[in-house]
């Protein structure tokens, strides 16, 4: 979250760090669930976090993504898929997040697309060329941006879906789940307001992002973000620096968002 | 002892008439019955066995008037006291030799088949030279063996009277002699009476007496 030779806004950055931390620190859960506990498998950390907040001690939340793997592009092995298949609930992010869910068999009834309620609010991204072959005619492999939870109002909708699914699965606990959800929703609402307040200070100010993952953040909080594809732990090559310089001429950003601390050399 | 007294018999709707004023045979006696075909030899055997009943006259075996008995009593008497030997053996092809010998015991309530009877059957067959053929079926035996099996069947109940109808008619000379020897031996051993219809005049000298149907005379041996 540093741009060379610019002052960085500490508060904003700490804020985003928390959120990024939420999405990128997969947590392997310990086994040993009590049988009556609702066994929940999630595809990413935010959903797992929401599930734990809502379910509390009544749920066993699993996020079996190994450390160092990006849950969005990870492919589970057969045993892990089997574990997902046997869960009481499988929490999916939707919006094309975690492509692996489209390539495996998961039980439809216990699978919850937590963003189904705001499917219309997905942000499309063109990332592929159209091609044609065979009887199918023209087609392209276009997608949608999937980091939906960076819009805290949408994050609350994810949580609401989780609350509803858990209550359906354990009707006796519905009141507990609802109370926990209300608390979480208030927290998310607070975050949303805080974010709006902080982001208000940066309205229309050009910002760069190391990866194109801030679409929902930018839309909700009216931030002017453009992206490159830089890895925090890799020093960009001279070509990438040249392209950045060109980009900055048209888009004079003085803040850059990183999902992790970049290398000191990059910062320099 | 068999006795026939003033016996008259005719078949309905037939001109055949048989009249026997008197005729008797003592226990242990071996009688040959000869006469032309159709003269009534087999009819006499049927009357003596109680298979046919005379229009008049009586047939006695020992002191029992067989012609006076009712149907069931006559049958029971016949199976227990009279042994039949036929010209065509009348063995049942589907039974083994042993089962054929035991057959009368299996089809009549008048005879009881027990272990002793079985042992007697085996001993009898053995003495007739059939000891190793008991499990065979008749079609696996020679004619002589078949007739020996038939004689065993007739003799097993130890009857008082043996009625043989052309018993040697289908046999070669050696077997004729052998069968006759065996029959005579048993008749003597059990003091039974043998009444044998035959056309074989060469054998007549071996009988005690010959009953000639031609003029119905009893002639001494």
């Amino acid at each position: 979250m540093y741009l060379k030779s610019t002052r960085y806004p500490v508060r904003f950055i700490s804020f985003v760090t928390i959120i990024i931390g939420m999405l990128s620190s997969p947590c392997a859960m310990a086994a040993g669930s009590v049988s009556e506990k609702l066994v929940v498998y999630s595809v990413n950390y935010p959903l797992a976090y929401f599930a734990r907040r809502i379910g509390g001690e009544h749920v066993d939340v699993h996020l079996p993504v190994p450390a160092g793997e990006d849950p969005a592009f990870w492919m589970p092995d057969s045993d892990t898929i089997t574990a997902y298949q046997q869960a009481d609930l499988v929490l999916l992010n939707g919006a094309g997040y975690a492509k692996w869910v489209d390539r495996v068999s998961l039980p439809g009834r216990r699978r919850v697309n937590t963003s189904a309620s705001f499917r219309d609010a997905y942000i499309p991204v063109e990332q592929s060329v159209t091609h044609q072959h065979g009887p199918g005619g023209d087609h392209s492999h276009a997608g949608t941006a999937f980091t939906t939870w960076l819009d805290f109002s949408l994050a609350a909708q994810h949580a609401q879906s989780i609350n509803a699914a858990m209550s359906r699965a354990r009707p006796a606990m519905a009141d507990v789940f609802e109370a926990n959800y209300q608390k979480l929703a208030r927290d998310l609402e607070k975050l949303d307001r805080e974010m709006q307040r902080v982001a208000g200070q940066y309205a229309d100010r050009p910002m760069l992002a190391s990866h194109p993952v801030y679409q929902y953040l930018a839309r909700r909080y009216k931030l002017n973000i453009e992206s490159v594809t830089w890895e925090p732990d890799v020093m960009p090559d001279p070509d990438e620096w040249r392209m950045l310089s060109r980009k900055l001429q048209a888009f004079p950003a003085d803040v850059m968002l990183w999902e992790r601390q970049p290398l000191p050399e990059t910062r320099e | 002892m068999i006795a026939v007294d003033s016996l008259h018999f005719s078949y309905p709707a037939s001109t055949f008439r048989l009249s026997i004023p008197e005729f008797s045979a003592a226990p242990g006696e071996k009688l040959a019955v000869i006469g032309p075909s159709g003269s009534g030899k087999t009819t006499l055997l049927n009357l003596i066995a109680g298979i046919s009943l005379p229009q008049s006259g009586r047939v006695f075996i020992d002191d029992t008037a067989i012609s006076d008995m009712n149907d069931a009593a006559r049958r029971n008497y016949r199976i227990a006291q009279i042994g039949f030997v036929f010209q065509d053996f009348r063995l049942l092809e589907y039974l083994t030799v042993l089962d054929n010998i035991l057959h009368p015991y299996r089809i009549s309530g008048a005879l009881v088949l027990d272990r002793q009877v079985r042992e007697r059957a085996l001993a009898l067959a053995d003495s007739m030279g059939l000891g190793d053929k008991m499990k065979r079926h008749p079609d696996a035996l020679s004619q002589g063996e078949q007739q020996r099996a038939a004689i065993c069947r007739a003799l097993l109940p130890e009857p008082k009277l043996i009625l043989a109808d052309e018993a040697t008619g289908n046999l070669d000379p050696d077997n004729k002699s052998l069968i006759l020897d065996l029959l005579f031996e048993r008749v003597e051993a059990h003091s039974a009476t043998l009444l044998a219809v035959t056309h074989d005049h060469e054998l007549l000298p071996r009988f005690d007496r010959v009953v000639d149907f031609h003029d119905f005379r009893a002639s001494g041996a």
Partner: protein, 392 residues
């Protein structure tokens, strides 16, 4: 009587050929109606139990019988298709939950049933060997499929081409067998289960191929500009989904019209079921049927046919009885000598009748035994026989 039975037994075994023919005739005439009844009872039980276990079926308008037979018993009847959106509509109603079924393809003669994992929960099917399918392109097979084809987990099955002349249409897909079901004594034993998406890949709606933007083989490219690439027929499409190429598999077109043959609709309760049926009563394209109603109608017809067959069997039975009487009369004539002999020996005419009765007792008893053995066999295998004879 025991002695009569002994003699009769000797007679029966000596005249083996005749006895066997008599036993066969009596057995057949007793076995046929009983076996038919047994199979009909079993088929009624099978048809009804599966129908009862399947509360509601949603399918395209058309023959309700085809829909039920295809969806419940995986027979060859091909009901018109519905779109995936039908499933979404049912789920969205919050009155019921829909389990998709897509039954169009076969693999080595066995139906490929595209469905979701919920189907296995719904039918209480358990994996006996191996594991549940996890990746696209994997299948789990019924116990009969495994035993008849001699395959198990780790082996592969290739889907049959839809039509030999359909060159442009359906590619055969080599499917990995992930697991074998425990025997359930129903149509599921003779089915190959795949994810609906795997079935759609067989259909050609989804496919995997070389990455056109990155391929180094320019000979597959017909035309290329900044926005689009057109490939020619040389483009290699994968006929098998593997860990290496699974990322290249993707679906095209509007997913809401992806085909299904039916939905098993599990209503939340009776009221929801009634509401749902009402909702689809006058629907333009869909019908919701209660399989048990359809099956009862079918059974009514089967039992009507059975009454006719029963009549035929009675007539054939009478003819057999008369033939048997004739056989015994002729047999008595052949045994005239035997009768004469035992009569002379001192038996009544009743003795022969007793022997004959004993012979009949033996033949009837042997027939009854044979019939019982056959019926036991039929009974033990009635489930598979019914499937083979009546439902396949």
């Amino acid at each position: 009587m025991m002695d009569s039975l002994y003699i009769a037994w000797r007679y029966v075994t000596w005249n083996r050929g005749k006895s066997l023919i008599l036993i066969a005739s009596v057995t057949l005439i007793a076995f046929l109606p009983l076996a038919l009844q047994l199979l009909l009872d079993e088929s009624e039980q099978q048809l009804r139990s599966r129908a009862t276990d399947t509360p509601l079926l949603l399918g395209a308008k058309g023959s309700a019988l085809d829909l039920v037979m295809n969806s419940l018993y995986f027979d060859d009847s091909m009901p018109p298709r519905i779109g995936l959106d039908a499933s979404e509509q049912v789920d969205a109603s919050e009155l019921a939950y829909a389990i998709p079924l897509y039954m169009r393809f076969r693999a080595r003669g066995f139906p490929i049933v595209g469905t979701s994992l919920d189907y296995f929960d719904f039918r209480s099917l358990r994996i006996g060997e191996g594991r549940m399918m996890t990746l696209l392109g994997e299948s789990v097979i019924g116990a009969d499929v495994a035993s008849k084809l001699g395959i198990g987990p780790g082996d592969s099955l290739v889907s049959s081409p839809d039509n030999l002349f359909d060159i442009a249409g359906v590619y055969p897909l080599k499917m990995k067998v992930a697991g074998v079901m425990e025997r359930s004594h129903g149509p599921d034993d003779a089915a190959v289960f795949v994810d609906t998406r795997t079935a759609w890949i067989i259909e050609g709606l989804g496919h995997g191929h070389q990455d056109l933007a990155r391929t180094g083989d320019s000979s597959v490219i017909l035309q290329k500009d900044d926005d689009s690439v057109t490939a020619n027929a040389k483009l290699m499409q994968y006929a098998e989904i593997t860990a290496d190429n699974i990322d290249s598999f993707h679906f095209h077109g509007d997913s809401s019209i992806y085909p299904l043959t039916a939905l098993i609709v599990q209503a939340n309760d009776d009221k929801a079921a009634a509401l749902l049926r009402g909702r689809y009563q006058d629907h333009d394209s869909y019908q919701v049927v209660r399989p048990v109603d359809v099956v009862d109608g079918l059974l009514e017809n089967i039992f009507r046919i059975k009454t006719v067959i029963d009549g035929v069997i009675v007539i054939v039975g009478l003819a057999t009885l008369l033939t048997m009487v004739l056989v015994f009369i002729l047999s008595l004539r052949i045994r005239q000598d035997e009768m004469d002999t035992i009569f002379r020996m001192g038996c009544s005419r009743m003795t022969m009748a007793r022997l004959l009765l004993a012979e009949i007792v033996i033949i009837v008893a042997a027939s009854a035994l044979l019939c019982a053995i056959l019926l036991t066999l039929v009974s033990a295998n009635s489930a598979s026989l019914v499937r083979y004879l009546l439902l396949s």
